[in-house]
């Protein structure tokens, strides 16, 4: 499979339908790369005309801004917007809620206006339009699965149902944690916490959250954010449950259910 870049599209004089914004985690983190690969597998299978920025993509500046470094955020935003506008991008899909939030809510006032869609919503649309047909190749039918709400998808942008609809399309037995939807507990990674040691406390946030997920008895913890995924995977490992319980992104769940 070849993953086309914007530069290639430009050279051929064509324009893709969507830009897939991969994000730093999706590009560099080994676990998150699997989510990226799953998502492009779906795009490829459905036959969507998409492209990535490749080496031209840069950090959106989210962790810089939320840690307090506005200068660095503005530098990154400036450069990204130059590139995105240079390619005349209209529609962006991303698998990272943090990138999604910045691109959707924070770039417009800096001159970057795009239709920005998170992959949970995008996948739901593909399912609704019948472009993605779920089979049970993943063996998720009737399986106990819980969904962890990402803060930047849920509270920050009011997207609670799209990822759940994707799971419903697989006929999974969705079990909710007590703290779900707008009451959902953070995984502990947001606000640039991913890049530093947690402050002193009684327990780690990701352990508190993954314990709650484990207590549902779910065999799969579904997430829709690469950072949540890392945090919850660490939490599951901490309880030595990694052989019984998987932490999977909804894109991975869909990719596994596409049939052979």
């Amino acid at each position: 499979m070849h993953v086309p870049t914007m530069a290639e599209f430009l050279a051929s004089g064509e324009q893709p339908d969507i830009l897939f914004w991969v994000g730093c985690a999706g590009s560099f983190d080994q676990r998150a790369q699997k989510i990226t690969k799953a998502f492009v597998t779906i795009l490829n299978k459905v036959g969507i005309k998409y492209a990535i920025l490749g080496k031209e993509e840069m950090c959106t500046g989210d962790p810089a801004r939320r840690s307090g470094n506005e200068f660095m955020f503005q530098m990154m935003a400036y450069q990204n917007i130059q590139i995105l506008n240079g390619y005349n991008i209209k529609k962006i899909v991303t698998a990272c809620p943090h990138c999604f939030n910045v691109l959707k809510n924070e770039y417009p006032e800096l001159g970057g206006n795009y239709e920005v869609i998170h992959h949970a919503t995008f996948l739901q649309q593909l399912i609704d339009e019948g472009k993605v047909r779920m089979t049970d190749t993943g063996g998720f039918k009737g399986k106990k699965i819980t969904y962890h709400d990402s803060c930047y998808l849920g509270r920050a942008n009011d997207i609670y149902e799209a990822p759940r609809k994707v799971l419903e399309a697989m006929d999974v037995a969705l079990v909710e944690m007590k703290r779900c939807r707008s009451n959902g507990l953070c995984c502990g990674a947001g606000g640039a916490q991913m890049f530093k040691e947690e402050e002193k406390g009684d327990t780690r946030i990701n352990i508190e959250r993954s314990d709650e997920a484990l207590s549902t008895g779910a065999k799969v913890i579904a997430a829709a954010c690469p950072f949540c995924n890392t945090m919850l995977t660490d939490g599951v490992k901490n309880r030595e449950k990694e052989n019984e319980v998987e932490v999977l992104d909804i894109a991975e769940l869909v990719a596994l259910s596409l049939g052979n």
Binding site: E57, S67, Q74, M76, N101, E106, Y152, M194, E199, I205
Partner: protein, 438 residues
């Protein structure tokens, strides 16, 4: 005697209203010490928030049992104020039950309703008092509330119980006087609650009953005037400020951070020097170190906070034992703002007192624990945004004080040099595509 009572009432009413007004003006002045922020757009959506969030208490209904109890107190408080209007008019005119004749049968319907509400308020206040002092709910036991804030909450509940009891006893003694045939006390018939209490007074002399009735009347109205002037010093100010706070609450996605136009411009001039204005650059301030650097909305937030602690209960950092408590952020902001306001009042302008909100009230460790998850913002029943304050203080820490943990400095370096928060080569950004080639 009658005229002395009327004069005393007028003086008391005028003084307490004047005092209340000057306290509220001081609070308004303090709020406008904050940075300007235009929140006047989309007025229909804003009014909708006032109706749903303030009047309808929509967020309270995330916990329906508590919401209903709170609503009883709130409705009691607002509706019984109609009765207070009568009390005030009686006080001024020297009349007794001035609304009785004009309202006719509607009058007893209203008073019956007020009496039922009064019983409801007493009941709920007792339950709320028990939740704080006997059941000791976790969010009320937090050390955020040590000292005055915990007493404040109890004083309010006790005051409400006393005020409502006075209202009921006043009506009961009034009824007892009617039964004895005292002319000044017009026949009203039995009201639903005081009618049950009235027979207990049957052996009291007329003079005793008048003393009881007058004492209740005076204590009730003095209590209300005292309560009015207690509000500006109390968490209970939320009964007023919840309304403007809902109106001015932010309407955009809660994940969006405030843009810093000055930094945006700086970066633009750096990238495109031809756009830079000529002449010396103005000195800039980044983020917030003290209350004056915060938006006026954050300061209105601080005065609107009723210290219920729903924010801190939902906060992932607080739940896992970190120092951060969004409620404390709001309480600190109000305390510091009060201090700054008094400083200005005393000195004519703000005289440096060697203190700032950052460090002297809110510590770096608290700020560093925030995951920006918006749970506190989501929870707040009166539309307070503690996250705004946290993020503005964080900006000051990083951009004014260069105060960042080592790991964040490394992350900044990586973003600058590798365009990603990790120390990995930008050339490898699309390396994952190679694995898909076969």
């Amino acid at each position: 005697m009658q005229y002395i009572q009327q004069a005393a009432f007028l003086i008391l009413a005028a003084y307490s209203i004047w005092l209340f007004r000057s306290n509220i003006l001081q609070i308004k002045k303090n709020i406008f010490l904050g940075r300007e922020e235009d929140l006047s757009d989309q007025s229909s959506l804003r009014w909708r928030n006032v109706v749903l969030l303030a009047l309808g208490q929509k967020k309270m209904f995330r916990n329906p049992t508590v919401a209903i109890m709170h609503f009883i107190i709130y409705a009691g408080f607002i509706i019984i104020n109609i009765e207070v209007l009568e009390i005030i008019l009686d006080g001024i005119t020297g009349w007794h039950r001035i609304f009785l004749t004009p309202l006719g049968s509607l009058y007893s319907l209203l008073i019956n309703f007020f009496e039922l509400l009064a019983v409801g308020v007493i009941g709920v206040c007792i339950i709320f008092f028990a939740r704080r002092n006997i059941l000791k709910l976790k969010r009320f036991m937090s050390k955020d509330l040590d000292g005055w804030p915990r007493s404040d909450a109890n004083y309010i509940l006790i005051a409400e119980i006393i005020l409502m009891s006075l209202f009921l006893i006043m009506n009961a003694s009034d009824r007892a006087l009617q039964i004895q045939g005292n002319e000044h006390y017009h026949e009203t018939g039995n009201f639903i609650v005081s009618g049950i209490i009235a027979p207990l007074f049957k052996n009291f002399s007329s003079a005793q009953l008048i003393a009881i009735e007058r004492s209740c009347w005076w204590l009730h109205i003095v209590g209300i005037f005292a309560f009015l002037n207690y509000l500006p010093y109390s968490k209970h100010l939320h009964i007023m400020l919840a309304f403007p706070n809902a109106y001015y609450s932010r309407l955009e996605a809660s994940g969006k951070m405030h843009n810093m136009q000055n930094v945006q411009n700086e970066v633009k001039y750096m990238m495109q020097p031809e756009l830079a204005p000529t002449g010396d650059a103005q000195p800039m301030k980044f983020g917030a170190k003290d209350v004056m650097d915060l938006s006026w909305k954050s300061l209105l937030d601080a005065y609107s906070c009723t210290e219920c602690g729903r924010c801190s209960t939902a906060c992932p950092a607080n739940q896992t034992g970190k120092l951060l408590s969004p409620r404390k952020i709001m309480m600190d902001t109000r305390d510091r703002l009060q201090e700054v306001g008094e400083n200005i009042k005393k000195n004519g302008e703000f005289k440096d007192d060697g203190k700032t909100l950052l460090n002297d009230y809110i510590s770096v460790e608290e700020l560093r624990a925030c995951t920006t998850c918006n749970a506190c913002v989501q929870e707040c029943p009166v539309s307070i945004n503690p996250l705004d304050i946290i993020l503005e203080l964080r900006r000051s820490l990083i951009m004014e004080d260069s105060n960042a943990p080592q790991e964040w400095n490394a992350m900044f370096g990586n973003i600058e040099n590798n365009f990603a928060p990790w120390k990995l080569s930008p050339d490898d950004r699309d390396k994952w595509t190679e694995d898909l080639k076969n």
